[in-house]
């Protein structure tokens, strides 16, 4: 039996390897008695230094197993940006609460490492393992605030449902493997037509795993509970960064591998997208807890993003990728404000403008961006998605999306309305760390600048 050989070049892998090393060191350091914010800031600076270097490592590694092309780089930068901001949030949270453990920094780093590998993986085993690396880190992160009942509940739900989805996905992969005799994407692409029935069955189970991670209805049920129960920095992280990676991988698989089966997979993705957009927005309407509201809103956003995939074109996928960047900025930004104000009940946002004009203004920007009103970046990317969907002939889908965008405007604006138009009922017990301010400013300016000069988005 001849053993396939692959060249062991791992130039393209260097960023991941660096992060691995760095995360391990941070983990080891976190066992020592070292100032927590020092750890946070070290990681932040490390990542910030790393981000501009990522484009340098464009290329392949391990033959075709690992691909670092333009899209992958874009997604990785997004992931790392999200990670940096999440780390800042975590830093501030650790400072003021003393409940989160230092290990969380390493866990976040491992999670983003998993995502980066996921983005680049071109082979199902690596793909699966990277996904697990990400998932396990996230389970642990959610469970970190272990003395909180709600956090525990969230972790249990996340873990159990995540496990279920993993198994279903694995089953799908097995069928896919059975149908194509390989796990390498390149071979799969060639072989998929030979056994199209089985591979489609595998694909549909496989996709369930994705749908779970990006919380499409009806696989969304975990997300509001987890978002609400998890510590807010972790929520900010979970709600954005993993989705970047998963959407990246999702798009690759659908658009690059199953291009020829566009009709089949788009048929049910359309159903899911419609349900997600409609129900996600409707569910967000009556929410009283802002984290929960944002959870449903991000469910609805997933619905919009899927429209880009449904388009089934490379451009559609690009639009998804750019959406993820903006989505990360605005969603993390919104959660940052939630952390800063230390307040989850929307009722308590009344009159916040009086106490925190800057936070309120940023929240306003995020809310309008989430709604998709120009001149924020949220508009540009949403426009892009709609553009691609209509180009692919899904005008009616876009009309539904648009109508429910109006519904979404209602609940986003409610936050703005509470902050600006109602009289305050109490002065918030907020905290005001440098990390938070930096994070908020970064996100808000990012959303605005990308909205006005969308050169990086298209």
């Amino acid at each position: 039996m001849n053993i396939p050989q692959i060249p062991l070049d791992f130039n393209a892998l260097i960023p991941e390897i660096t992060i691995t090393a760095f995360a391990s060191i941070i983990f080891l350091l976190s066992l020592l008695k070292i100032n927590k914010s020092l750890l946070v800031w070290t990681s932040v600076i490390f990542l910030i230094c790393l981000i501009p270097l990522i484009p340098v490592f464009e290329g392949k590694a391990f033959g075709e197993f690992f691909l670092n092309d333009f899209l992958a780089i874009y997604l990785k930068i997004t992931v790392l940006l999200g990670t940096v901001i999440s780390l800042l949030l975590l830093g501030s949270y650790i400072k003021s609460r003393l409940i989160l453990l230092k290990e969380s920094i390493a866990l976040i780093l491992f999670a983003s490492l998993g995502m980066m590998l996921l983005i680049s993986a071109r082979e199902l085993i690596s793909f699966f393992v990277s996904l697990e690396l990400m998932s396990l880190s996230l389970y642990a992160l959610v469970a970190l605030r272990k003395y909180d009942k709600r956090a525990n509940e969230a972790a249990i739900k996340y873990f159990m449902l995540g496990g279920l989805s993993t198994v279903i996905m694995l089953f799908g992969i097995s069928l896919l493997y059975g149908a194509t005799k390989s796990t390498d994407f390149i071979f799969i692409v060639e072989a998929v037509s030979k056994n199209s029935e089985l591979s489609l069955a595998g694909l549909s189970l496989f996709i369930v795993g994705f749908c779970f991670k990006i919380a499409l209805i009806p696989f969304h049920m975990w997300s509001p509970d987890v978002y609400e129960g998890a510590p807010t920095p972790v929520t900010a992280f979970i709600s954005t960064v993993p989705k970047v990676a998963v959407f990246g991988a999702f798009g690759r698989i659908l658009i690059e591998i199953f291009q020829n089966y566009h009709i089949q997979w788009s048929s049910f993705l359309i159903v899911l997208a419609v349900i997600t957009i409609i129900i996600g927005n409707l569910l967000a309407l009556p929410q009283k807890n802002i984290k929960r509201m944002l959870a449903y809103s991000s469910i609805a956003h997933a619905g919009y993003i899927v429209l880009g995939l449904i388009a089934g074109t490379q451009e559609g996928f690009n639009s998804v990728v750019t959406y993820m960047l903006v989505y990360t900025l605005m969603n993390i930004g919104a959660f940052t404000v939630v952390i800063a104000l230390n307040e989850e009940d929307i009722e308590n946002y009344k009159g916040l403008h009086k106490f925190h004009p800057v936070f309120a203004l940023s929240m306003l920007i995020f809310m309008f961006s989430l709604t998709g009103v120009p001149p924020t970046a949220g508009f540009i990317v949403k426009f892009n998605i709609f553009l691609q969907a209509i180009k692919a002939g899904f005008t009616w889908l876009v009309i539904i999306a648009v109508l429910f965008t109006v519904v979404s405007a209602y609940y986003y604006l409610r936050v703005v309305m509470y902050m600006y138009m109602k009289e305050p009922i109490k002065s918030p017990n907020s905290f005001n760390h440098r990390e938070l301010e930096i994070a908020i400013m970064f996100c808000a300016l990012g959303v605005l600048i990308l909205g006005i000069l969308p050169i990086y988005l298209i």
Binding site: E103, F110, F128, V129, L133, S137, A140, L175, A201
Partner: protein, 169 residues
């Protein structure tokens, strides 16, 4: 008896026993019984691997699952010292719906894959040497990532499970 008939007979045995064992796992009221049924179940699976020419997998199955995972379960049960299950309901209230949706899944799924035909290949004759070569060269990347997975599981498991007197507020 020819090889195929033997295979089929064994397969029928495994099919029945694996099904019954797994049902036993979910049906037994005592959690320790569940663990033991799971143990037997896992051993049977190991035997199935043998029939599929995957000796190495059989060994791994026994070592990892029986030696590792099940031990973990037992320890966990012992740490938690759970006995209430015996007094309480075993199933959730909406078990009927659960069974129904499970069966629905089975029907749809199996109805789907029942008819598939795979182009027959020569069955694999296992060779551990080859397997190892592949694992450490061709699949080096996932293998390395797997190590990280285990590391994370380690970190996660420990920090979640450990009691931290300092932060216990």
């Amino acid at each position: 008896m020819n090889q195929i008939a033997v295979d089929q007979a064994f397969f029928i045995y495994f099919y029945i026993s694996l099904s019954l064992l797994s049902i036993a796992v979910i049906a037994s009221r005592n959690i320790i019984h569940s663990v033991f049924f799971l143990l037997i179940f896992l051993l049977h699976v190991a035997a199935v691997f043998l029939f599929l020419n995957a000796e190495f997998l059989m060994v791994i199955q026994i070592i990892v699952y029986v030696g590792g995972v099940l031990a973990l379960f037992v320890f966990a049960i012992m740490i938690m010292n759970l006995k209430e299950e015996l007094k309480h309901r075993k199933f959730v209230k909406f078990a009927g719906a659960g069974i129904f949706s499970g069966l629905l899944f089975f029907t749809v799924f199996y109805g789907y894959i029942r008819n598939i035909k795979l182009s027959p290949e020569k069955p694999l004759l296992s060779d551990v040497n080859v397997l190892s070569s592949i694992l450490y060269s061709y699949y080096l990347l996932p293998f390395e990532i797997l190590s990280l997975v285990l590391l994370v599981a380690l970190i996660g498991g420990i920090i979640i499970a450990k009691k931290d007197p300092k932060e216990d507020k």
